[in-house]
Subunit: 342 residues, 2 copies
């Protein structure tokens, strides 16, 4: 195919799909990397609980169990980007410079006792427990009126920003609606007002209609390569039934999500040889705060997985355009074929 520009329906951005710049999807298969092993003791392994900051939650610790008996722990980040005790005061230093105290929460979810595990390698039940803790933490933090948005994210691999190998995810609660969330909210609000339908639901419908870009599907969930993928093999997982708030997900659906997420990550892992990636959950902001009426009608929570295979350079920083050398159609085919190969 010749290169083309695709409009990102969730923002004001455009994507350049430019397959001519790269030869084939196989160019993105990663070299096998040894696990980083710094020789230092891992602060997330059982027995090293004193190396972590305050424990916020644990799962699987028996009553009267020792502190090193657990399946999963949530701890405060030792180097928090934001802190609960900071104050939420807007200072207008002048007409161009405005600041707020760095109020927020920054937590680490230690997903397992298995140092060498990964989100794809866990059993559906183990992954379910992790997702259950995500749900619980968002629900809990949204009780604090100051936290307008909770971003759950997972960095896998050094290139993707992970400084520790032991499987973990993080969350940061922030006192304003983040830019990217705001863009998605505005775009889906506009679409809803124009067409009286959810932008995300319609996106799922359009992909299913022509059965393109879909890599995995269950009764209630779908995993696909978005039409305007910013990155090679960018993958989204969405509930098929409209739902705006991830923390309201039912346990039955959470079990199904665990399954499709495991399958999706396994496909990426097999096809691209364990690529570094970022995973983020986009959900609706704290309802104690949001001024968007009817947001439950037009916003649709989802998971975005971004394999870190290409670098972001001056053009992308300068413009907000992304150049994607692999079309999502080709990426989906390659992922599906890898199922056959493995």
């Amino acid at each position: 195919m010749s290169s083309e520009l695709r409009k990102d329906p969730f923002s004001d951005g455009w994507i350049i799909v430019s397959p001519e710049r790269s030869k084939k999807p196989t160019d993105f298969i990663q070299k096998t990397q040894e696990l980083q092993n710094s020789g230092k003791k891992c602060p997330f392994c059982p027995g090293n609980e004193d190396e972590t900051s305050v424990e916020i939650r644990s799962v699987g610790r028996p009553q009267n169990g020792s502190k090193s008996e657990w399946d999963l722990r949530v701890v405060a980040n030792r180097f928090p980007a934001l802190k609960i005790e900071n104050s939420l005061v807007l200072k207008n230093l002048n007409r161009v410079h405005n600041q707020i105290g760095g109020v927020g929460a920054h937590e680490v979810i230690i997903e397992s006792t298995k140092h060498d595990g990964e989100l794809w390698s866990f059993s559906d039940e183990e992954r379910y427990k992790i997702l259950e803790v995500y749900r619980e933490r968002v629900e809990d933090l949204y009780r604090d009126k100051r936290f307008v948005y909770v971003q759950i994210f997972r960095n896998f691999g050094e290139i993707a920003g992970a400084s520790l190998v032991h499987p973990h995810s993080q969350l940061i609660a922030v006192p304003t609606i983040p830019k990217r969330a705001m863009e998605e909210i505005k775009a889906s609000k506009h679409f809803w007002e124009t067409y009286n339908n959810c932008l995300f639901c319609e996106k799922i419908y359009e992909n299913k209609k022509i059965n393109e870009r879909i890599i995995c599907e269950t009764k209630n969930f779908i995993a696909l390569e978005p039409f305007a993928s910013r990155f090679p093999f960018e993958t989204w997982v969405l509930p098929k039934n409209h739902s705006s708030n991830f923390s309201e997900i039912k346990s039955k659906d959470l079990a199904e999500l665990s399954k499709i997420l495991g399958e999706t990550l396994t496909m990426l892992k097999n096809a691209l040889n364990n690529p570094p990636y970022n995973l983020v959950i986009h959900t609706s902001p704290n309802s104690l705060h949001t001024k968007y009426e009817n947001i439950e009608n037009f916003f649709h929570w989802h998971i975005e997985i971004i394999p870190r295979l290409s670098s972001i350079a001056g053009f992308e920083w300068g413009t907000g355009f992304y150049i994607n050398p692999v079309s999502p159609e080709e990426a989906a085919k390659f992922l599906l074929n890898s199922l056959v190969r493995n």
Copy 2:
């Protein structure tokens, strides 16, 4: 200082300035790296002109000179993200999927015959010639109505996306106003309508008033670390006198720009040991196109330099927030002190 959130006045974004996550600016000093030398012959060195694509412009070639006599060349990118011959037709595939043919231009500016040179190491006269070609290319491409915006950018170092060592910059002409340009235009339009002043001019004024975050100044230009810097040591160079269109810069000012740009890059190079960086020029869109009346009053062209010292991880992708571990005040002090040290 404790962490704080700063509003980016040029977009809807926020920056978390979080100095507690890093110890000190010296943590960002780069390890000395050998120049990449793949053993292949450099396609940008004199004598290898056949290795490059179509020559669009050359500087310094004598009349009847051979093709390898030049000071500077502009060539088409061999793997163009966009192409002039593609067609500019908007296709609405459905209500969520829209595309345009990949029409545009993608050029490489080979800045010098010196394989081991760098933008900071060139003489003011050599750098002047490069800036002069930037000006000329923007002016020329803006004669084509299809090109709504020209992004000039420079990637230095592998981490910053440069695949070749030989000093070069690039430009891409695109058929829509890019997201980041649009954000700056909208924000500065809003500021102008509210306060009857240019947002950028006011930013310069506020920094000068308290003499903070400024790292370099000449009669008509200023280099500073923006209040809401997204990245450690993010540096902007701006004309002090209001001007919206880079390609209208007078030659006298271009000479002064060459000087301050050289000094600024030398400071970054000395302080951080030759860091990888991206440089972008933000100018106003093609006036044959823009629907913004009075844009010459409220938009202000400038150069953004982004040293690539920290990685972008899930939180940043998920939210559009940036976590900057070095405050711009501290960064400016460190850069100024490095002048004393060197």
